[in-house]
């Protein structure tokens, strides 16, 4: 397929500031999401994801302002997830300049949110974000978790993903809680299992540690590969990931 494999850095932000830190040289402000977004844009990132971990809903205004300032300077797609509970939250993020909005815990609590959002804003705006971990109690062996993997939802991950896609989610941000932070490679087993049940684009997330980790995720069925710390700490460059993918025969931008 000629559409390019997307390489997507993900920034965790809290009250408009990047958390966990980012280790770049020549950075005036390592916590400024706007400056980081600009740098990633220039470095060839195909998209950016902001994961808003702001705990207090009263701080949401800072999130909107951050999205606004980023979108003013960044001419690549921007997805914002985290803390999205209502279609009005989505509306505010889209108006601030987000192109897509990630729905996670709130979608599990209220699946109608996925349907309502896709009807109101279009499938292409609605990214289902799922934190998946292995569980013997789930029929497929994978369960969907909530609250960033801290709680079990009791839902089988594959069943939930299938339902959300039918409700109109236009894309899936598939995060493996088992692979996340391990830097041992993407969760190929999970990606393969999910690809077999849905035909919406899949963004693979969790586990990237080396250049050799990206192509297997694409072979397993991912349309895009997301990573956070390996990019932020200069372990890998976006351009090197693309060169490696191209060397393995995949289309990149």
């Amino acid at each position: 397929m000629p559409v390019a494999v997307r390489v997507i850095p993900c920034l965790d932000v809290d009250s408009g500031r990047v958390v966990k830190g980012v280790n770049f040289e020549n950075l005036r402000d390592a916590g400024d999401p706007v400056e980081l977004a600009r740098i990633y844009g220039a470095a060839g990132a195909d998209e950016l994801v902001f994961l808003d971990v702001t705990a207090s809903s009263s701080d949401r205004e800072t999130t909107y302002e951050m999205v606004r300032r980023t979108a003013d300077q960044l001419f690549i797609p921007l997805t914002v997830g985290g803390g999205v509970r209502t279609t009005d939250d989505i509306d505010k993020l889209l108006r601030a300049g987000a192109d897509k909005v990630g729905i996670n815990t709130a979608g599990i609590a209220n699946p109608q949110l996925i349907s309502d959002a896709s009807r109101r804003f279009g499938d292409q705006c609605v990214v289902l974000s799922v934190d998946v971990r292995r569980s013997k109690e789930s029929p497929s062996g994978f369960e969907a978790t909530t609250h960033g993997g801290r709680r079990s939802s009791g839902l089988d991950a594959l069943e939930w993903i299938t339902e959300a896609a039918e409700r109109g989610a236009g894309e899936l941000l598939l995060n493996s809680m088992d692979a996340d932070g391990m830097q041992n490679g993407y969760d190929i087993e999970l990606i393969t299992a999910v690809r077999a049940v849905v035909d919406i684009p899949i963004i693979a997330s969790g586990g990237a540690g080396q250049l050799s980790h990206f192509a297997p995720a694409v072979v397993a069925g991912a349309d895009a590969v997301l990573a956070a710390s390996v990019f932020h700490f200069n372990q890998l460059a976006v351009s090197d990931v693309k060169l490696q993918l191209a060397a393995e025969g995949f289309q990149v931008r």
Partner: protein
């Protein structure tokens, strides 16, 4: 300074279109004011979401009249994404076994793409005619697409003594119309405002044709 209006009929994110156009040096106003949109040097018709909702939104602000009168006067109009799709005769999106009517500037039906993965989401290549003004100075670049429906055929027959429309194609599962240059009416299925430097160059190309 070229003055551009982005028709703000309630469809999605017009902010990035505005900012991207501003990088070309144009002054950009986001409005639905009839006279302002009619008299602007150039008009952008954005579009996000469902076809029928966009057509309804455009008609509600008399956007169909604005577009029609501008084109009659040879004044530039650029449709983006669903803003391009609405220029066609009709669409099957959410229409059951029937159709929703479009603005009918061009014949043809917007239909679901036959592709294994939908939406078509991401950066894809295009094949532009050599004479394209839209893609002047742009080669080997990808543009950002996000859509499930498209014009899978181009049905406007060339008319003698009139300049033939320049049609640019892309492929996702099958060929579809990625962009059109038809006199004062231009359109892109992809999002130039989200296509990095290549997209900004394309918008600058468009602005440079505005007299």
């Amino acid at each position: 300074m070229t003055n551009v209006v982005v028709l703000d009929y309630g469809s999605g994110n017009v902010r990035s279109v505005q900012r991207a156009l501003e990088t070309t040096g144009a002054s950009v106003e986001v409005t639905v004011d009839f006279e302002t949109a009619l008299n602007a040097d150039a008009l952008v018709v954005p579009g996000v979401g469902a076809f029928a909702a966009c057509v309804e939104g455009i008609r509600k602000v008399r956007g169909d009249q604005i577009i029609g009168r501008r084109l009659a006067g040879g004044r530039p109009v650029l449709g983006i994404c669903v803003g391009m799709q609405v220029l066609f005769e009709r669409s099957t999106e959410h229409a059951g076994d029937g159709y929703f009517a479009g603005l009918n500037e061009w014949p043809g039906t917007i239909d679901t793409l036959h592709a294994p993965i939908l939406p078509h989401m991401g950066w894809n290549t295009v094949i532009a005619p050599l004479t394209s003004e839209m893609f002047a100075g742009i080669s080997d670049e990808r543009f950002y697409f996000v859509h499930s429906f498209a014009a899978r055929t181009w049905e406007l027959d060339p008319i003698e003594k009139m300049t033939a429309p320049k049609v640019t194609w892309a492929n996702h599962g099958e060929d579809f119309v990625a962009a059109v240059e038809n006199g004062p009416l231009w359109a892109t299925q992809f999002h130039p405002e989200k296509s990095g430097e290549a997209g900004l160059t394309l918008l600058a190309n468009w602005i440079s044709t505005v007299k």
